[in-house]
Symmetry: C2
Subunit: 386 residues, 2 copies
């Protein structure tokens, strides 16, 4: 099978990730921070080291401001519900995932906030002028995806961050697509809140993610509970990461994520980014010239985090994904990808799009096979073979 | 090392749990419910089977009412914040963990709910008469731990459930201590909401847990996000488990939990409960006769889920745990165990308690060694050897 669904979750994982997790589970998976015995300390130390590694990876100066979550969705909800107050105004791009859109739309529906969604161009790229004009005195938060999970389009994060900071608004970045192959620097990009999953481009396991909370951010937790600290308090401790991290952490998952970060550092984030871009560029070139095909992604590096989204004019995206899987053993995703706003922007709300997302472990030979396959499907316009 | 901190997290895990997780990570860890290709379907199927297994284990008739969470804390917060409305009254036992106490106390502080904490006897056992008298017309929720994480005391769950149902209140059970060795039947026990961790008595990995939401419960989610379903909706789908499960699930963790449930079923929950009780009973007998020791746990089966909590009159609990670890290689936990209310009940708020919590993999020989060790410490009253 050729796995090209890395935007959903990266697969396979580096061997070191799995062996680090197995070793943790077998040898020292006690409860981190909940005891002083050797095994608990070993688990606690592993979590601390992972926290430092991930923090360094995003240029987060104080590792204690990095909170582990179960996935990016929890991180995004923690940020959104944690910083917004009644009557706040929020600006978000038109390419946000449901993990941003649904909390914001729910708050808007309940008349707690007002919301401006930026219209993008046909690729979903935002207009910085439109952003500038969208600020109001009560704008507390700007939310942007690092890149779209539908077509891979990259947002001008540093520029948005600068604008948000100069207007006194907080800046939340959803790094679900791009973290691991695109350099993220919370300092130089003026990011106040960074949400990321561990299991996509970072190549860690599912069940991991995190939220960076910048020093200027006043945040309330989404939940309260045992923190292994200040047990005598009947309220949540007010310092990070304990404020946000309630209950037992996913120690083996976090250990796996740390090992994945090591793998990326050793491989080189630049090399990973370049490799993914070469595959995307070739795929884009190979299929965009076919008849009856519409490609929704831009091929340029800096404009695409690693996705080619397309449709045949004569077919539903799900049909194409089905054929690719069943007949050619190529795993891609079709449909709406939990991002209806993005599809509204791209004009694909009705039938979704076929999304091909290569990862570090894909090869150029695989991409050539995929191009040939899509050419073949293009020729056999009628779907008798299904 | 003798690991006796199973109330924090069970260790070691059954071999089958680790091998199931490794196999998942290596062979089919795609994104469950986020695609139609073979690998995604395999992951989705594994999650569905796990859901059915866990549901059956607790006699949950509709597996779709079982939602996976990252830990028990998320499940408890989802239940508490999801069902309570302004002006509601809540009754909880005096032995609740901070994962129950902190959300409830926060809601009470913010004047959203009123709260009655039941006083217990010196072991924390509640008085059903006091419970009966605590109901008010606006009592929406009764919360009880299945058993205390401090001293193992069991609560009369079925009786509390019956009383809550007859008064029209919902019943939330925190099964963090006991699930896996104590039989839980949501039907016969009148449980409306059951929260549990996967990594304690259930012997699954950290990063797993769940919340059962009964058919009479109207619940709001703690977060919203991608569900892989109804992607076109800008609001959260209203059916379970999607309402509660936002973002990518911890597939390898859930697969590990399912394997752990298999292990428990094959071993027999009764055998596990009996084994743990034999160890607790012997330990209780062995140390309670020592001079200058106070034991806070009851030894009887049905009164103890698997914990012996004690103090030497002349020492801080942390000192004893430290000596047990460093000199005798015995891992236990001391301090407040994230449950200050329970310590207030037991009269141990100042110095906490030493908690010994045997698990399925502990042996009687280990317990005999622990008893001898505690005898030795008892004789060497002065702590020169530290």
């Amino acid at each position: 099978m050729i796995y090209l669904d890395n935007a959903a979750t990266s697969w396979p994982k580096p061997d070191c990730v799995i062996s680090a997790m197995t070793q943790c589970l077998k040898e020292y998976c006690a409860n981190p921070g909940r005891g002083s015995h050797g095994l608990s300390s070993a688990a606690g130390l592993a979590v601390s080291r992972a926290r430092e590694k991930v923090a360094e990876f995003f240029n987060i100066k104080d590792p204690l401001r990095l909170c582990f979550t179960k996935n990016a969705t929890e991180a995004l909800n923690t940020a959104i519900y944690g910083v917004l107050k009644p009557h706040d105004h929020v600006i978000a791009t038109g390419m946000e995932h449901n993990s941003v859109l649904r909390p914001l739309k729910t708050l808007e529906r309940d008349r707690k906030i007002s919301l401006t969604l930026l219209k993008g161009n046909r690729f979903g790229e935002i207009d910085l002028g439109e952003l500038a004009q969208s600020f109001r005195p009560e704008t507390r938060l700007v939310v942007s995806t690092l890149s779209s999970n539908v077509n891979g389009i990259m947002m001008p994060i540093a520029e948005i961050g600068e604008m948000a900071r100069s207007r006194g608004a907080l800046f939340l970045v959803d790094a679900s697509q791009g973290a691991g192959s695109v350099l993220i620097d919370v300092e130089s990009m003026n990011i106040d809140l960074l949400a990321f999953p561990g299991h996509k481009g970072l190549m860690g396991p599912q069940g991991t993610g995190g939220l960076y909370v910048g020093p200027d951010v006043d945040i309330k937790p989404l939940m309260q509970g045992g923190t292994g600290s200040n047990s005598e308090l009947i309220y949540q401790p007010e310092y990070l990461p304990d404020l946000i991290e309630s209950g037992t952490l996913n120690t083996p998952g976090i250990v796996g994520l740390a090992s994945a970060i090591d793998f990326i550092r050793e491989t080189g984030i630049d090399n990973i980014g370049k490799h993914r871009h070469r595959l995307v560029e070739r795929l884009h070139e190979g299929i965009s010239r076919l008849e009856g095909i519409t490609v929704y992604s831009r091929p340029e590096k800096g404009k695409n985090s690693g996705i080619v989204a397309f449709n045949f004019d004569w077919a539903d995206s799900n049909e194409i994904a089905y054929i690719l899987d069943k007949k050619y053993n190529i795993a891609v995703r079709a449909g709406l990808h939990c991002a209806p706003a993005a599809h509204a922007t791209l004009g694909t709300l009705r039938r979704g799009a076929v999304r091909i997302s290569p990862g570090w472990f894909n090869t150029m030979d695989e991409i050539e096979y995929v191009i040939k396959t899509i050419e073949e499907i293009s020729r056999q316009k009628n779907l008798q073979f299904v």
